[in-house]
């Protein structure tokens, strides 16, 4: 037996391993690979390119870009000013001043391949509100402080109300800061010119992408107030004749719209929530939402887990999970409720521990059910509108559980009103369908699943081992809901 690394190395060097490749496989694979490569060339849009196309074709995104250039400096993205003396400082002043104004109103006119349109955006740092209104009458009102988004669709004369869970105020409903970060990943200097013309300061940015689009943005700032006056976008694709231009003018009113109805949305518009079961909105115009009070156990490890290599693994948030909002009166309705499992005799612990309220990660708190594919089912003993399910598999160490699928239904056989609210079985190994959710690392926060108010009595959780070994564990499962009215 070996005693150290060197001895082990010698053992390995003496091994006789047949690792000679098969020339036929090599040849075939070469052909297949080049075929795949050529096919991807026919659709050359990578993620960032399609993102660029989105911006080029979306007036609202253009307004967001105008605002985001300012934000980008604000959050300290260095490329915007690092190459030109003084520009970084000056832009930082612009950002700071924008942050101080009560409201910023951006009015844009756009020309997309000869088709003209208009739109406008209001944004307030203080109130954390971003509002977009387009010429076709569509309005979105994102209130980040209250975690709500209202969207009016004139075609259906409908207002939808939804949460902004996980989204942070970033001058746009779809986090344009994220767009800027993508560009920044390309490690290019984006600010290409900075000059003074009378009372104006001009900043020119090049947001072009390699061999695909030419995209330039000119920001004009009032030299006295250090506030943006105008942003002009000019873009064109290299390989096609597509062009896009936009001009956005800035105003700084004392007050902004306080609701979508101030923006021309008719009072008679139908109000819907994102919950299809319609129970969510109840009889009030907008249901009163409150942050769920989820008590967390003591963390069993410190720091951000980084060394788990699993496909489609969610990046750790690096900060506490944002609050989850649900209608007033929502509570954990799984507490003390009976649990059954495909493994009736757990290896460690008892099934009832899953709903006993003890979420601590130490031994004696978790139940270990058999290896490979297993599921557990909680009977809530009545029908509820379920808004969230929080599951703690095991958080003594960072690990990832595979094929986590969470289903809800009205009957124990999962045939009536059955629906899947979470599924990260990426290769359909459970046979319940390919999941689009991501793998995640277990932590003391547990995994919060948005159940969107689905009506159900039974909750079933599947899993199929974890990165450490094949067994399945549960510390606690909480189901947040309200009785069906």
């Amino acid at each position: 037996m070996f005693k150290n690394e060197d001895e082990f190395k010698k053992i390995v060097s003496r091994l006789k391993i047949d690792d000679k490749p098969n020339p036929a496989h090599r040849e075939n694979l070469s052909r297949q690979m080049l075929s795949v490569f050529n096919k991807t060339g026919e659709q050359p849009l990578t993620k960032s390119r399609s993102l660029r196309r989105t911006i080029m074709k979306s007036p609202i995104k253009k307004i967001a870009v105008a605002a985001v250039i300012i934000i980008a400096v604000l959050i300290g993205i260095h490329q915007f000013g690092s190459s030109i003396d003084g520009a970084k400082v000056a832009l930082a002043q612009v950002s700071e001043n924008v942050k101080k104004v009560p409201w910023m109103h951006m009015i844009g006119s756009f020309n997309e391949a000869g088709r003209e349109t208009k739109g406008e955006t209001w944004a307030s740092f203080e109130s954390q509100i971003v509002i977009n209104r387009m010429a076709d009458g569509k309005v979105t009102f994102s209130d980040y402080a209250k975690n709500r988004k209202y969207a009016y669709y004139p075609g259906t004369d409908t207002v939808t109300v939804s949460h902004l869970n996980g989204e942070e105020f970033a001058m746009g409903a779809h986090s344009p800061v994220g767009l800027i970060e993508r560009w920044m990943e390309q490690d290019k200097e984006r600010l290409i010119r900075h000059k003074r013309e009378g009372n104006l300061e001009i900043y020119e940015f090049d947001l072009s992408e390699n061999n695909y689009t030419i995209y330039k943005v000119k920001l004009t700032v009032d030299a006295q107030t250090k506030l943006p006056i105008k942003v002009v976008h000019k873009g064109r694709t290299v390989h096609t004749s597509y062009t896009t231009d936009a001009t956005i003018n800035f105003e700084y009113p004392e007050n902004g719209p306080s609701s979508i109805y101030e923006l021309g949305v008719p009072e008679s518009a139908i109000v819907k929530t994102t919950d299809e079961s319609k129970q969510y909105a109840s009889d009030t115009r907008f249901p009163e939402l409150v942050a769920l009070d989820i008590k967390l156990p003591k963390p069993m490890f410190v720091g951000t887990p980084q060394d788990i290599k699993v496909p489609r693994l969610e990046k750790p948030l690096g900060k506490p999970r944002p609050p989850f909002y649900a209608p007033v009166g929502t509570k954990n309705v799984a507490f003390g409720k009976p649990v059954t499992s495909t493994d009736e005799f757990p290896i460690i612990g008892k099934l009832e521990w899953m709903t006993d309220g003890d979420k601590e990660g130490a031994d004696g708190s978790f139940v270990e059910v058999g290896p490979f594919r297993q599921h557990v089912t909680i009977d809530l003993e009545a029908e509820y509108n379920i808004y969230a399910i929080v599951v703690w598999h095991y958080h003594k160490e960072p690990r990832v559980y595979f094929d986590v699928v969470v289903q809800v239904a009205s009957d124990p056989d999962f045939t009536v009103n059955a629906s899947t609210v979470f599924n990260n079985d990426i290769d359909n190994s459970l046979g319940l369908g390919v999941g689009k959710d991501m793998h995640y690392t277990e932590t003391a926060e547990g995994k919060l699943i948005d159940a969107k108010g689905t009506r159900a009595r039974h909750v079933r959780l599947h899993s199929n081992g974890n990165t450490t070994y094949d067994a399945n564990h549960y510390i606690e499962v909480e189901v947040y809901g309200k009785p069906v009215e």
Binding site: K9, L29, S30, K47
Partner: protein
């Protein structure tokens, strides 16, 4: 083996080939020819079976072909790390399935020779593989990269996106575990 990594591509041209491979099939073909054998061997070392290694090698290079256009690296070294990261992930994804792990273990067990003959204190490849398979997936990768691919700690760290010191410390611990697993394999436990 590290030195052999770029054996068929001149160092001076290699970076340019990587850059061209984003848009030119010919350049990608050159990279393929340079790396096919290494990746295939890596897969054999990770997956024991040549047949399985072929399947996973195919998955790796098809993945490369579909993602190379958005590959952000500029040098051959960047490409090498990227390629090995894909290879390690694909091999682990294969082994992750318990049923597959059992199959690999069975294949290794079926290939074991009689260890009662001379030199029996030193493991043959099937026994060593069976012991390696008992490690965590990421630890298996480290063993393969370090001892079969002969990579430096810094190179392994780049591939796995961790610090070199982490690899060094982890490897020390892994060898301790591997020793125990190997002992168990010798005693007939699989």
């Amino acid at each position: 083996m590290v030195g052999a990594m770029a054996k068929s591509v001149k160092q001076t041209d290699a970076d340019e080939i990587v850059l061209r491979a984003r848009t030119e099939a010919e350049a990608l073909g050159q990279l393929y020819e340079s790396y096919y054998e290494q990746i295939f061997r890596f897969c054999v070392h990770r997956l024991f079976s040549k047949e399985t290694a072929e399947d996973v090698t195919s998955t790796i290079f098809l993945e490369v072909a579909s993602r190379i256009r958005s590959f952000g690296g500029r040098t051959e070294q960047d490409f090498r790390y990227w390629l090995y990261a894909i290879a390690a992930n694909e091999a682990n994804a294969y082994i992750r399935k318990t049923s597959r792990r059992k199959k690999l273990l069975a294949e290794a067990a079926g290939s074991m020779t009689d260890n009662t003959t001379d030199n029996s204190s030193e493991p043959d490849w099937p026994r060593l593989y069976a012991a390696i398979l008992k490690l965590k997936l990421e630890h298996q990768t480290i063993i393969t990269l370090r001892f079969f691919e002969n990579l430096e700690f810094e190179q392994i760290a780049k591939i796995l996106d961790v610090r070199p010191a982490t690899v060094r410390v982890t490897l020390h611990r892994i060898l301790g575990k591997l020793r125990k697993h190997l002992q168990a394999v010798f005693e007939g436990e699989l």
